[in-house]
């Protein structure tokens, strides 16, 4: 293990900050943490279970966390870097220039953290945020339930007020990585008599609490991070309720928006393993009279390419409009378009691969082809998870187009 690099000085001006940061990163980022993540390896999600992470990955996380660079814009007292916007941008640019992989990822950092910052009590912030920023605690989320589907608010998992603590009973579905998480944030029913959106609390629960168990969910594409998580008479201190005990729905909606904008980024890229879709098509299908030998597939590819470009441009336009303060309704289409397009993209890829894309495993199939096939199957869930396509269309009709219920 190499010795830790010296800290950069506090930034005098932006150029100096850039210079310092660049130098620090060049030292601090292990070579193996640069470039795309190789297949089979994953990003570091933090938490107590670091078994699947390399020594370099742990080191990279430790170093970045020490600088507060895992969450550069968070206040220093909560484990962040205390950087201003311009500095954070420079940090991102320098990380990108180095092709450094993110030192830390996960729902704690991406979803819970921002919400905690916004609505958590000072005690809650001080307890949880630094551990998120340092990657000491890995979070998972408990929203959906068996039988609830898109009607999230119909949830049944109950938290009964027992004076000093809540008693939690029920189960949560689609809890990603629940089997490896240290803590879970949950929507729970605190008042069964209130209208369904009004009786919901947002509870933070230690996964080591007695009475919690998980079981893994296998998808049509094979192994998945999803679990079902069961709560049987789980005792949770009342201090772990975020916001009001009946104000969970509002917090959940804030958090869902972070999730949707993350999902919308799907569908833009068309990289398949090494080569692009176009190269793959030319290789597998071949040209005839200068055009792809399969005329229908050719049109489907052209249409897909157009649609991908339209999606990417729309996402960029939403960003530009946000910056200009002229936000329209375009943002509401991104989750729908991104996920539907990703499904379409994999359908086209399957058509290109032909029978070579039909393998489940075995030596007769290229790893690229097997991976594409699994990804095709996995893509079927895109338009269901994070708000179904039907819900997205309802939202567009209601909120953007003002059509009544």
């Amino acid at each position: 293990m190499s010795s830790p690099p010296t800290s950069p000085e506090p930034p005098a001006d932006l150029d100096a900050f850039r210079e310092d940061t660049r130098r620090w990163l060049a030292d601090a980022c292990p070579q193996s943490m640069r470039g795309p993540v190789p297949p089979g390896e994953g990003l570091n999600w933090g938490g107590s279970d670091q078994a699947d992470q390399s020594e370099d990955s742990r080191l990279w996380l430790t170093r970045m966390a020490e600088q507060g660079f895992t969450l550069p814009e968070w206040p220093v007292e909560y484990g962040g870097g205390g950087l201003n916007r311009a500095e954070a941008k420079i940090l991102r640019q320098e990380l990108k220039a180095l092709r450094a992989r993110p030192a830390l990822t996960g729902v704690g950092q991406l979803l819970l953290g921002p919400v905690l910052l916004e609505v958590g009590s000072e005690t809650q912030k001080l307890e949880h945020l630094p551990k998120i920023a340092r990657g000491q605690v890995r979070w998972c989320q408990g929203y959906s339930e068996p039988g609830a589907g898109s009607d999230l608010a119909s949830l049944q998992c109950r938290a009964e007020d027992q004076g000093h603590h809540y008693l939690v009973n029920g189960s949560k579905l689609w809890t990603s990585y629940a089997d490896r998480a240290d803590w879970i944030f949950c929507l729970v029913r605190t008042d069964p008599d209130a209208k369904k959106h009004d009786g919901i609390g947002f509870l933070l629960i230690d996964m080591k609490s007695p009475g919690i168990s998980t079981s893994k969910i296998r998808l049509i594409s094979g192994e998945s991070p999803f679990c079902e998580t069961f709560f049987e008479n789980v005792t949770v201190p009342k201090a772990q309720m975020l916001g009001e005990p009946t104000g969970g729905w509002g917090i959940a909606k804030k958090l869902l928006q972070y999730e949707r904008s993350a999902a919308a980024s799907l569908g833009g890229s068309s990289a398949v393993g090494g080569g692009s879709m176009l190269e793959l098509a030319k290789e597998v299908v071949g040209l005839q009279h200068g055009t792809l030998a399969d005329p229908e597939l050719r049109l489907r590819i052209a249409q897909l390419k157009m649609d991908q470009s339209a999606m990417a441009l729309s996402a960029r336009r939403v960003g530009e409009e946000k910056r200009e303060g002229t936000v329209g309704g375009t943002g509401a289409i991104l989750k729908y378009v991104g996920t539907e397009l990703n499904k379409k993209r994999y359908e086209v890829l399957m058509s290109i691969l032909g029978t070579q894309g039909l393998g489940w495993d075995g030596s007769e199939y290229k790893p690229r082809d097997l991976a594409t096939t699994r990804a095709w199957l996995r893509s079927k869930a895109n338009s269901i998870e994070g708000g179904t396509s039907e819900i997205q269309l309802n939202i567009i009709a209601k909120r953007v187009l003002g059509m009544p219920d």
Partner: protein
């Protein structure tokens, strides 16, 4: 002509359905997959289907004898379609396409009496023959690099065939190859014992839990009369192969009809029972219209398949167009059906625990087997003269 079933056909369908229901529920398909069964299908079921006469439906009764139990009124694409549709509904893995529609048919069309003698054992379910026609990863039967070199009275067969359905358990193989050493090279179908020296079979497991094989042929020595029909040159083999593939594609489409219809009914049931936002899913108008669209496509497809099957059985001039239409349409129907079934089932639909995914996977294999919608639409357009 017949767009409704005869009484005999209805009765036959009932028998097939009862047999499959009892012996090959979807859970059986799941078991075969989970246990990575070496055959990937049930030979017992296959012999039961033989008893019902399913295996002799595409051959001349003279070749198969009475033992198959084939009734005189039955036999032809209409009945084969009924069998395949029921297989689709139950996800029953059988060698109907590989062994009956392809191999039995090729033997019947092209084989000598001696070669056709194999059909007796095929019809009882005791012998399996697979047809090795594909070389690339896309359906293109004209693309044949495999060569059978004629040297005196011997042939030497070399090449590589992919996606040989049920090739992993075949006793014999029918192999398309360019026969060289004749006055002019020509395509021929050769009958090859699967355990011949030089034949290398690699089993490949498909996403639907079934199996195909890659067949590598390295200087396989065969007598001259391994060529079907024992003639040289056999100029019409390419045409017969194209026709047999079109018939098999139509049978494949019938299986897809079963898949699409089953998915429809399961989704209908799901929408009827599942509640969301305080009402049954089936009461949401957007879903009603989508189900109605799906139903429309189901009904149109059924009409087309019935007519195409009749067209084949009556030997109508345009039967190849009808077959292309059938496979093209059913490919699109299955795309719609699987997409809607998964989406409307929601989260449960993408778990391995649900059967929906099994239908999705089987449908994709069926879609790409024997030519996808794109291939058959192109072929159809060519026959329109455009």
């Amino acid at each position: 002509m017949a767009l409704v079933l005869t009484e005999t056909q209805t009765e036959f369908r009932r028998s097939v359905r009862a047999l499959l229901h009892a012996n090959s529920p979807v859970s059986e398909h799941r078991r075969l997959r989970n246990e990575a069964d070496p055959d990937g299908l049930s030979r017992k079921l296959w012999r039961q289907m033989a008893t019902l006469g399913c295996l002799g439906l595409d051959t001349d009764p003279d070749d198969t004898g009475d033992s198959t139990g084939t009734e005189s009124e039955l036999g032809g694409m209409a009945e084969l379609g009924l069998v395949l549709e029921q297989c689709g509904r139950q996800l029953a893995a059988t060698p109907m396409i590989s062994c009956i529609l392809l191999s039995s048919r090729l033997l019947t069309e092209l084989g000598t009496k001696r070669q056709r003698a194999l059909l007796t054992e095929v019809a009882t379910g005791d012998l399996l023959i697979a047809t090795a026609y594909q070389e690339g990863s896309r359906h293109n039967p004209e693309h044949v690099d495999t060569v059978a070199q004629l040297l005196g009275d011997q042939l030497s067969l070399s090449g590589e065939k992919r996606f040989v359905i049920d090739g992993h358990i075949a006793d014999w193989l029918l192999v398309s190859a360019n026969i060289e050493g004749l006055s002019e090279p020509s395509l021929g179908i050769l009958l090859v014992k699967a355990d011949s020296p030089g034949v290398d079979l690699t089993r490949t497991t498909l996403i639907d839990g079934r199996n195909s094989a890659t067949v590598r042929l390295n200087d396989v020595k065969l007598p001259r009369n391994a060529v079907l029909g024992d003639v040289s040159p056999p100029p019409h083999h390419a045409t017969v192969l194209e026709e047999v593939l079109a018939r098999a594609a139509l049978a494949q489409a019938a299986e897809m009809m079963g898949i699409a219809a089953e998915l429809f009914e399961r989704t209908q049931e799901h929408l009827r029972t599942r509640e969301q936002f305080g009402q049954k899913l089936a009461s949401f108008q957007a879903l009603k219209h989508r189900m109605a669209h799906w139903y429309i496509e189901l009904e149109l497809s059924r009409s087309v398949l019935m007519d195409a099957n009749s067209g084949v059985d009556e030997g109508r001039d345009d039967w190849m167009s009808l077959a292309h239409h059938g496979k093209a349409r059913l490919g699109r129907l299955c795309s719609l059906a699987t997409a809607e079934a998964v989406q409307l089932h929601g989260g449960i639909g993408v778990t391995d625990e649900s059967d929906i995914g099994l239908f999705l996977k089987r449908a994709k294999v069926a879609e790409l087997t024997l030519g996808d919608s794109s291939f058959h639409t192109d072929a159809y357009a060519r026959r329109l003269g455009i």
